[in-house]
């Protein structure tokens, strides 16, 4: 494997002071959702970390995940590419194309055999191989060929993690997730439609900093970001506890910023970091903009009923999940559920 400079060496060569480095480490701790007390350990680890080679494969996807990544503010995507990782293959961002691009992929695989990361966005069709090809190679063959020498695979976005929209009923291409095909390598799922940019860069930074992958939940998602529900961290949660709900998008409750549970918010059953990490450089997240959470980071979110149907109408998730979500404020939840069913019945009747 070729000798690559450490991140500490790269930053020093750029004239970054120790103060600047400490700032970098503080924002990295925040990015990894680690306590600030970890900053000295992060500083030591980053000093000696070497840039890993990254190969990014795009299959049945919409480029939304890449669009999200390129809007990462901390670190910026260019900062990540030049300082923290060596992005050796990415259709959208690389200058090379055709045979040159494929040659770059093979060169990165050979030079970093056993140590490179493979990032995948998009699901993989298992029906006709011609449904989706790159340079004449089917998605499935390219994935299985590329992961052979990888240290780990990161499935970026709900399509790669769970099949996503291509895998939604009736799934015409036989789309599957990465983990349904890759069984002999560690697979980290970073779902979301798209995922939060900082969560994507955090997984890369964690691998770079500590040489290991983050702790995962039962769906292979990093616990640091997917360990709590949107509802748990929502600033509107106090209104849920008080039984104050918006009944429509233009009523007084909506204007007062009350809980969106009865308008179909999937926050109680959705594990993600939107409520604290937020979007667009920390500007806001959907609920803050007055729209319910769609639950896009959960498996099969596309097939779980209408986005505006309250959870209590039973289309989203199992009863057990809902019971868990409603553990706090049970009485209010039950009242909201009953009201939600009445509202749903009214909608159905009117339709």
């Amino acid at each position: 494997m070729k000798r690559t400079p450490t991140v500490g060496e790269i930053l020093r060569a750029k004239g970054v002071s120790r103060r600047g480095f400490l700032k970098y480490c503080a924002t990295t701790a925040s990015l990894l959702a680690l306590p600030p007390a970890m900053i000295p350990r992060i500083a030591r680890a980053i000093e000696n970390a070497r840039r890993p080679s990254v190969i990014w494969l795009s299959f049945q996807e919409c480029t939304g995940c890449t669009e999200s990544l390129t809007r990462s503010a901390s670190p910026t995507v260019e900062g990540l590419i030049f300082d923290a990782i060596s992005l050796d293959y990415h259709h959208t961002l690389q200058a090379a194309s055709g045979e040159q691009a494929e040659a770059a992929r093979h060169a990165a695989m050979e030079e970093n055999d056993g140590g490179y990361l493979v990032l995948v966005d998009g699901s993989i069709p298992t029906g006709n191989p011609g449904f989706s090809t790159i340079a004449g190679i089917s998605n499935r063959d390219m994935l299985m060929d590329t992961v052979k020498g990888a240290a780990a695979v990161v499935a970026i976005g709900s399509c790669a993690a769970f099949g996503g929209i291509p895998g939604a009923n009736p799934n015409p291409t036989g789309a599957v997730s990465v983990s349904e095909l890759v069984k002999d390598k560690p697979v980290v799922n970073v779902p979301g439609c798209p995922p939060i940019a900082m969560v994507m860069t955090a997984v890369l930074t964690q691998f770079l900093t500590f040489g290991q992958l983050p702790e995962l939940d039962k769906f292979g998602r990093p616990l640091a970001f997917f360990g709590k529900t949107i509802h748990d961290r929502c600033y509107r949660r106090p209104f849920y506890e008080q039984g104050k709900f918006a009944e429509s998008f233009d009523d007084e409750g909506a204007k007062a910023g009350w809980c969106l549970y009865k308008l179909g918010c999937k926050g109680p059953t959705t594990y993600n970091a939107c409520a604290t990490v937020k979007w667009n450089s920390g500007t806001s997240f959907p609920i803050e903009s007055g729209h319910p959470c769609l639950g896009c980071s959960e498996p099969g979110f596309w097939d779980k009923g209408g986005f505006y149907q309250p959870l209590s109408t039973g289309h989203f998730g199992s009863g057990a999940k809902l019971a868990g979500a409603a553990a706090a404020g049970v009485a209010l939840g039950v009242a909201a559920a009953a009201a939600g069913r009445r509202r749903q019945a009214k909608i159905t009747k009117e339709a």
Binding site: V16, S17, R18, R19, G20, L22, K23, Y24, A26, T27, A29, S30, A33, P35, P36, A37, A73, S74, P75, T76, G79, R233, C234, Y235, R236, R237, P238, F239, K255, A256, G257, W258, A275, T276, V277, S281, G282, T283, S284, E288
Partner: protein, 130 residues
Amino acid sequence: MTSVDEIPVQVVGQHGNVRPILNEIMHALDRLLESDEPTIIDLAGLPFAPGELEELEATLGTGELTAELDALGSSRIRETAYPGVWWLEHRNAHNEVVGRYLEITRTPEILSSQEADIVAGRARLEDRIE
């Protein structure tokens, strides 16, 4: 209208997310006084309703000392009206906020001259003299 900043936003309602942080700060000040143990609160990890971050900043106010740091983008380190409580805001090269912290300490570490920078600076001075 040319930017999102021009969209008028009316903040209504009280969500009550500021008061718990003020309590946390008070406990951190107790620790600082009793055992000289500093505390860092990462504001990115806490839920805030629109306007609450501004409410927290206004409540803490501005104290006697403010410093600007120019390293990998700008940073502002400001002692609040409550001595020992510092508001740190880090920005990247694109001037986007990448971190906000409250440090409850006597002096934030980032304000101190760092060993590695002193060594490098001394070498530069030596080169200049020779």
